[in-house]
Amino acid sequence: MSTRIRREELAARIAADIPDGSYVNLGIGAPTLVANHLPADLEIVLHTENGLLGMGPAPHATEVDPDLINAGKQAVSELPGAAYFHHADSFGMMRGGHLDVCVLGAFQVSERGDLANWSTGAPGAIPAVGGAMDLAIGAKSVYVMTDLLTRSGTPKLVRACTYPLTGVRCVTRVYTDHAVFDIAPTGFVVREAFGDNTVDSLSALTGLTLSSAERG
């Protein structure tokens, strides 16, 4: 048995690691929850790759603007200090390493920091990548937010990804419902274990050789 934290708690945990003044891209899905936990007294500038820095929260239903959406094609708003730009400029911003942090979901993360999050490789599936590969290589720190295990109990942290890769050696840190892991040259390092998780219990769950940040 091990303690798992809820997704909103995990989002709050990630938000707490983002320094004031950071430029941040929150990927589609669970990572967007991080926005709800950014402290109101900090200025953290959100980037959406479809062409906006200074993205604000979803508007009231009557204020939805079809011209103002995020990368997930949801209605958003603009904050004072916002700026619009075209797609090539936006992805240049990412590819050029100007974002401080991006937070992404994952199917798998390998111990050398490879990320798989765009395709399960299932036959017949329609492939779609969007900005995933650009995001994976496009920030100074690439954080992954994911459950440690799939619903069927398979670890998402792996020695080597079996799903098609999104990016190679690109992940900085993995925030899971069980623990936070850094990627080090030696593999996964347990930075923080939630509840009664331990390095040993996490090793048992994942089948990986893990080291501890304290010992590292």
Binding site: L52, D65, P66, K73, M133
Partner: protein, 252 residues
């Protein structure tokens, strides 16, 4: 005298022949030049290659074009969406070809075409399926993959406002692919809400200079704008909300 204003969308797309490559602006619905796409459908050109970030939403615009069966190939980054049923069906039944390109490489390849770059080394996609068969190179210790420009015969884009020279400003995230597509096509056709007199756009704030624009079609204000200002009252698809929205909860 330069006057790039066409009388209607039909006239603007009339010379698009079968087999053409057409860049179509928009990210999902934002910035999608729906009236120009409708005119292209009515025009009837076949065997088209379409470049867009997506592969259509719902049953309108790009999706409606795909539904005609006149698109041979789609070049895009994200075809699969909750409302991409038209594409999904064509793809699954083998009736449409797909070239999947990471979104940033798509934008940069289009930009390269407009800027006269022969090819460029991108770090995006390195080591993935989407780089297979592509040349790669290590530069300063980092691996890159060689990407080639995406040029086109035509671009269909949407913008907010133009002058008769074709200078354009966009609106919010509807800008998306418009500026790079305008530069990458031999003939760029833009639909705008309105045309202002020459000198009516601030030269410091023009996003697409008129040199990149060939034809302008005025499609009039959209439902969520009045005199260029946002008034809201629509859903994400631009459909006006019920003027007297029902109260939520038990009362109904």
């Amino acid at each position: 005298m330069i006057d790039k204003i066409f009388r209607d969308a039909a006239a603007a797309v009339a010379d698009i022949v079968d087999g053409t490559t057409v860049l179509i602006g928009g990210f999902g619905r934002a910035g999608q030049p729906v009236e120009l796409i409708d005119a292209l459908i009515a025009h009837g050109a076949r065997d088209l290659t379409i470049v867009n970030n997506n592969a259509g939403n719902g049953d309108t615009g790009l999706a409606a074009l795909l539904a005609t069966g006149r698109v041979r190939k789609v070049v895009c980054s994200f075809p699969r969406q909750h409302d991409s049923w038209v594409f999904d069906e064509l793809y699954r039944s083998g009736r449409i070809e797909l070239e999947l390109v990471p979104q940033g490489n798509l934008a940069e390849r289009i930009r390269a075409a407009g800027a006269g770059i022969g090819a460029f080394y991108s770090p995006t996609g390195v080591g993935t399926l989407l780089a297979e068969g592509k040349e790669s190179r290590i530069i300063d210790g980092r691996e890159y993959v060689l990407e080639y420009p995406i040029a086109a015969d035509y671009a269909l884009i949407g913008a907010l406002r133009a002058d008769r020279w074709g200078n354009l400003v966009y609106r919010k995230t509807a800008r998306n692919f418009g500026p790079v597509m305008a530069a990458a096509a031999a003939t760029t056709i833009v639909q705008v809400d309105e045309v202002v007199p020459l000198g009516g756009l601030d030269p410091e704030a023009v996003v697409t200079p008129g040199i990149f624009v060939d034809r302008i079609v005025v499609t009039g204000p959209r439902p969520w704008l009045r005199d260029g200002a946002f008034v809201g009252g629509v859903d994400l698809e631009g459909t006006p909300l019920d003027p007297a929205p029902a109260a939520t909860g038990v009362a109904s």
